[in-house]
Symmetry: C2
Subunit: 456 residues, 2 copies
């Protein structure tokens, strides 16, 4: 890995702004495998479900109140809501809603949540333009490739320094995607990337506040506006990404240019995108998964005498809260996660509602869960033994949790997750129709039919 | 100076987000000297002239074309133009226009151009709200204090790394100013600063492109929206500026918290704001000034046989272009600067028009200027000797150029500069009325009368 830490090497930086611009502007439509094409649809579907699910969250309402002070034109819809706003504001709101539950997608190598900034800008722009679903899928794959490749370039130093990498690469993914949808040429696309490069958004200090989901929202908006400005002739440096005082070298001391150029147009980063089955930190996913498996074997909460967990030390460090008192604390409790998994067979956003965390049967069961650290168990694994009242003992070992690259969520599981977020907002029937529209997006002549189904 | 370079010291960071929020929310109206009050009016006036002057520049037109794609509501005016857009877009455009000529103000200690991000957000918001001039001046002083104090905190490491400090502190100045104008309380103001902290805008690589003036524009917009979001309950970290993964420590390895707290509310950074008399890089200002002084002594271009300049090495390094062929190159030519100073008695934006740079008398005179490096001469000085055709020899030594802290531009000179930018756009009569409105802003019951005079 060529990690440059001094400016001498800078002169040898490849022209990555230009290289990425040409790639985005000229790569053929659907110029990838069926697997990549399918993953793009999974990414879009998962993003949309999250956006609908949090569409009436306090963060969305507060941001929308600010947007309404601008008296926006009714250009674009907001998934899960009835009002319309200008397309840039719709990008902002979608970025916020899709990340509010921390339930969206993850590019595990960089911890980027790539759909947030990219899809959030694309859908409102496509709706306003009356673009085809094909054009949206093309732009989504290319935009996510740009964001994640640039993330690979500066990760981990950039993230370790305190940047929330989703918003500090996301404006580049959004700019690339919107440039593609607007059919900008290579030179205009380079300008769009250049304008966006000046606008990294996000500090990790904001985690736990509404400004965390603001980061993908702000990045979505910034990328969209950068593309619109480039379309009208606004100029930026043509070396904005790679120059000594350009994006990579200003926001990171590590910049491995090969991450941009290696197999560009052949390997697509969206292939390694993953989706969270559970609405909480990834370290407790294996334990929840083990409890869901227990339930699948017919075990009920009232059968349980005691559950013993052996886990990596990080699990208890990050999620060792024994007596959570509200939903947010529940997300940091492996004990609550296990109780939810066994009682409900899932741990979506509603299983982290305050009233669920305090429900008597949930509290009773979580107190029967005992976790000990065993560093022979890896971070992504868990070792569970359930002792039942009838004397049986059931052992479940999870090497990789559901939702990992090794055990991806099935399409059916993604649909179930979507229903869990969407049914209460737009109803189950409309949700079914919307799911069909998502799977068929690449063939849709116009995105507006899909968008119409997202309205509350 | 307490420069912290490791995280051990972080635990001792004072609560500067909270401290600044309380200062902005509670400092008394006009709680400063008459000198500060007058400097605020000079800052506003100089900013407005620059904004009007560049109101039909290609950068403004390109950005406006993008904004018009959002079909903005006609909430606020754009100085020098006839159309109205939403107030956030007006903030963006004003930030762009006021910085396009590189002719705006400079806080010399940090090279921040503070009015761009702050006044550009304030005026559209004030127009929309129908706020008083008093409230605008109060917010301007406080917003600039926040931006420049935070600039002092991280300068120079932050700037050396490649950040364009005007846009990376400006969103905080804009957020503070807009929070004040919106009468947010301390807690809401802290949230506004927190939301803004995630949005530093600007890379030095963009210098020479339209994205340079985009930086104060984007910062103005970001700060305004942060304040609107905070007003409606959007949350951010209450330690977003000082936490280990907060703004200062993510964007800089140097952070001197005392710069925020020392004499806060007693010393105001706007006091050391300066205004450029010449529309070019500051290193050739002393030489232009010397030629203007020569002209004031009655010397005409046709009298000159030869001019000898002795200057610091930096002057020729940065502005040594002997035969500039267009206006932009003219800005990097001390020879053209001298010719303009002697022929026109000024070097405003129009003296850097392409046709002036190529005019025969200008070319003839600049070829008579000979510059040599003498490092006994300081950067801010010049030593000029003019040899005239009649045998006379005139010596002019400039220690500090006009426009420096030591020799500030007079109010009359600021007015002349304003006329030079504004007369061609809105006419001399309206410009006179507008200048009166600027000087009287602190007493105006409503800013809308002043705004009406800025329309083309």
């Amino acid at each position: 890995m060529a990690t440059n830490t001094n400016t001498v090497a800078d002169h040898h930086a490849p022209a990555i702004t230009q290289i990425l611009a040409e790639f985005v502007a000229t790569h053929p439509s659907k110029g990838w495998s069926d697997a990549v094409e399918h993953e793009a649809h999974r990414t879009f579907l998962n993003w949309l479900g999250c956006a609908i699910g949090a569409s009436d969250h306090a963060a969305a309402r507060a941001a929308l109140s600010a947007v309404h002070m601008l008296q926006p034109a009714p250009q674009a819809s907001i998934a899960g809501r009835s009002e319309r706003v200008d397309m840039a504001s719709a990008a902002l709101i979608h970025g916020i809603t899709s990340h509010t539950f921390d339930f969206d997608d993850t590019h595990l190598r960089t911890i980027i949540h790539p759909a947030g900034p990219v899809a959030s800008a694309l859908l409102p722009l496509a709706e306003h333009l009356g673009a085809s679903g094909r054009a949206v899928i093309d732009a989504l794959v290319l935009g996510i490739d740009v964001a994640c490749r640039l993330g690979n370039t500066v990760y981990p130093e950039h993230y370790d320094r305190g940047w929330h990498i989703t918003g500090t690469t996301g404006m580049l993914g959004s700019a690339a995607a919107c440039a593609r949808l607007l059919q900008l040429n290579t030179q205009q696309t380079a300008m769009a990337l250049g304008i966006a490069a000046s606008q990294p958004i996000g500090l990790r200090e904001q985690f736990g506040t509404m400004t965390k989901p603001f980061h993908p929202g702000g990045a979505a908006r910034a990328g969209l506006m950068s593309a619109l400005m480039a379309k009208h002739g606004f100029t930026a440096s043509g070396k904005a990404l790679e120059a000594p005082r350009g994006w990579a070298q200003v926001v990171s001391t590590k910049y491995d240019w090969n991450e941009v150029t290696d197999e560009l147009g052949k390997r697509f980063e969206i292939s390694s995108n993953t989706y969270k089955p559970f609405a909480c930190g990834i370290v407790i996913h294996p334990s929840i998964d083990a409890c869901v498996q227990l339930r699948d074997q017919g075990v009920k909460a009232e059968d349980v005498e005691r559950i013993e967990l052996r886990v990596h030390s990080l699990v208890l460090e990050l999620t060792g809260k024994k007596e959570p008192t509200d939903g947010l604390q529940g997300k940091f409790s492996v004990y609550h996660g296990c109780a939810a998994g066994l009682i409900f067979g899932r741990a979506a956003e509603e299983e982290f509602d305050d009233h669920i965390v305090n429900r008597e049967d949930v509290v009773t069961l979580r107190r029967k869960v005992h976790a000990t650290v065993d560093n022979n168990i890896r971070e992504e694994s868990t070792d569970l033994t359930a002792f039942l009242k009838d004397g049986r003992k059931i052992h479940v070992f999870v090497e990789h949790a559901i939702g990992s690259v090794q055990r991806p969520m099935t399409d059916a599981a993604l649909e179930a997750k979507f229903h869990g977020m969407s049914d209460a907002v737009i109803g189950a029937d409309k949700t079914n129709a919307l799911l069909q529209a998502c799977w068929g997006l690449g063939q849709a002549a116009n995105v507006q039919a899909l968008v119409a189904l997202t309205k509350a």
